[in-house]
Amino acid sequence: MTKNYIVENLKKQIESFKDEAKAEKVGHVIEVFDGIAKISGLSDIKASEMVSFPNGEKGVALNLEEDSVGVIILGDFTKIREGDEVKATGQILSVPVSDLQIGRVLNALGNPIDGKGAIKTDKSNPIEKVAPGVITRLSVNQAVQTGIKAIDALIPIGRGQRELIIGDRQTGKTAIAIDAILNQKGQDMICVYVSIGQKDSKLRKLQTRLEEGGAMDYTIIVSAGSSESAALSYIAPYTGVSIAEFFMDQGKDVLIIYDDLSKHAVAYREISLLLRRPPGREAFPGDVFYLHSRLLERACRRNKEYGGGSITALPIIETQSGDVSAYIPTNVISITDGQIFLETDLFYKGIRPAVNVGLSVSRVGSSAQIKAMKKVSGTLKLDLAQFRELEAFSQFGSDLDEGTKNQLERGKRAVEVLKQPQYAPVKTEDQVVTLYALTKGFMDDIAIDQIKSFEEGLTEYARRNAKTFYKEVIETKIWTDAGEQELVKAIAEFKQSIQK
């Protein structure tokens, strides 16, 4: 490393620099406030075109008015002054995309913020893209295994589906998303977690959790923190889905989580009001539905002719004291293919995950469920529905006939089985065994407080002693009579062994 080497290198670099004189469209800043700039000139600018400020900050033109342009500033707006020269770039805002982004934490512009160095890439994707059309799509027929029994059995999610996770604060919405990411290990899935307006401490905790679970090997975190401007919160989900599309274009399956879209809508409301767009219901602008629909439409499953791959979206919405009829929740409910309802009451009753099975639905996921699971979960849904009805009714008196009592007992056990601690995903085969034992009545004579330990022991025992059943479920997704007999025998043996 001599001085000469550096000089030579520099010379070479300078030689390779080409500069062409070209006409550029410029405008001047009229006013700057709260992350918004009003700019004169820029006569030929297009909607959502990127502009650049003299200090290198970027902006996006959102309002094209008669004699000025309203721009949101992506980054620090305090250094932008009145009269600054603003250049139009002729491009839509795009973010760098690369395989090297896996395992990293990025900001809303796609640049790393985890202190692990720059990501070198020459590829980039525009953040706004038209969603794949009808011809390129395939219906959902392959499952996303979340490892959560209540979801995999009753509200199954398919690859390419959009399933909303909705609930009040502190009901375990993020926990479900994180469990789903943790369970993707070895399932050939890339995960993108978009954090919008979250506390940095929460994000840090989450990142550590994912690292401990080995999930950062296939996960990208895109973050627009609550200390950053609303403009960055607004573009973060689009950045996330652009990165997801990069992987889908390689034929991979991607799981993307937007945590959460309520804060996204709030950020967009802030921008819109500052841009003086007329407020509508709850002061949200008129196009807040399109804001989310165009984002969620980009989740899809593509057919083989168009490269395959899928993007499964799990948007999260936070409700205020259980009010799902507010503006944003109803919007997103109608856009998505189903929702997972989480309830505070259930959470404090100790039913965790606090999924309200009655109100949660998955409109397309059932076709993605494996046959074995379908067989065991079909009767489970019925058991639970009857249980809920009887539960309310049975509180009035204890004079119940035998059949009703049995149903109540079965329901109580079903609720118990569906409880699951955090960060403890259950394999699909184990879920099938547990639910089989439950729905066929093998658990009816186990005390309720023993259910958890029985379940753990049973799956362990069955794994060793019902190998054919396991093999069949893993390979052909359904069991044969021989496999079933083996499992029934194993269950009976196990029950005997614990009664001794």
Binding site: L10, E24, K25, L42, S43
Partner: protein, 135 residues
């Protein structure tokens, strides 16, 4: 009622004063000033005049350019620039405004409306700097 923009007023003044003789023009001007004062826009009169200038330039094919350079340009170069502008914007007439700016280091910068053609040394050094940083 929608507010009247400066652009609207300037356009109205231009349209109504087009192809008018001197006497008529007098009344038009008087009315225009009346309207502006009635709408409490007298404070914006400077902007209205600017806008009027832009509209009339556009309709008459006049291009106004601001040319900055480090040293005073020779007549030959000025003619070349004028020809270039006339050809590029298909202008009938050009109004050139020259400015001497030491900070440009060399080369010239042409500003036409909101378009800039910047071939100055200062700009090129800045571009080289950006190129070397991102490389």
């Amino acid at each position: 009622m929608a507010t009247i923009s400066i652009n609207n007023i300037a356009r109205a003044i231009y349209e109504s004063s087009k192809n008018k003789d001197e006497v008529e023009l007098d009344t038009v001007m008087k009315n225009a000033v009346d309207i502006i004062s009635k709408k409490h826009l007298l404070s914006k009169s400077k902007e209205i005049i600017n806008q009027l200038q832009i509209i009339s330039d556009k309709n008459e094919g006049v291009i106004r350019a601001k040319i900055s350079s480090k040293v005073k340009l020779e007549q030959k170069i000025v003619n070349e620039i004028e020809d270039f502008i006339k050809k590029r914007y298909q202008a009938k007439n050009t109004v050139l405004d020259f400015e001497i700016d030491d900070k440009l280091l060399g080369g010239i910068k042409i500003e036409i409306g909101d378009e800039i053609i910047d071939t100055t040394l200062k700009n090129r050094i800045k571009k080289l700097q950006n190129y070397l940083i991102t490389k």
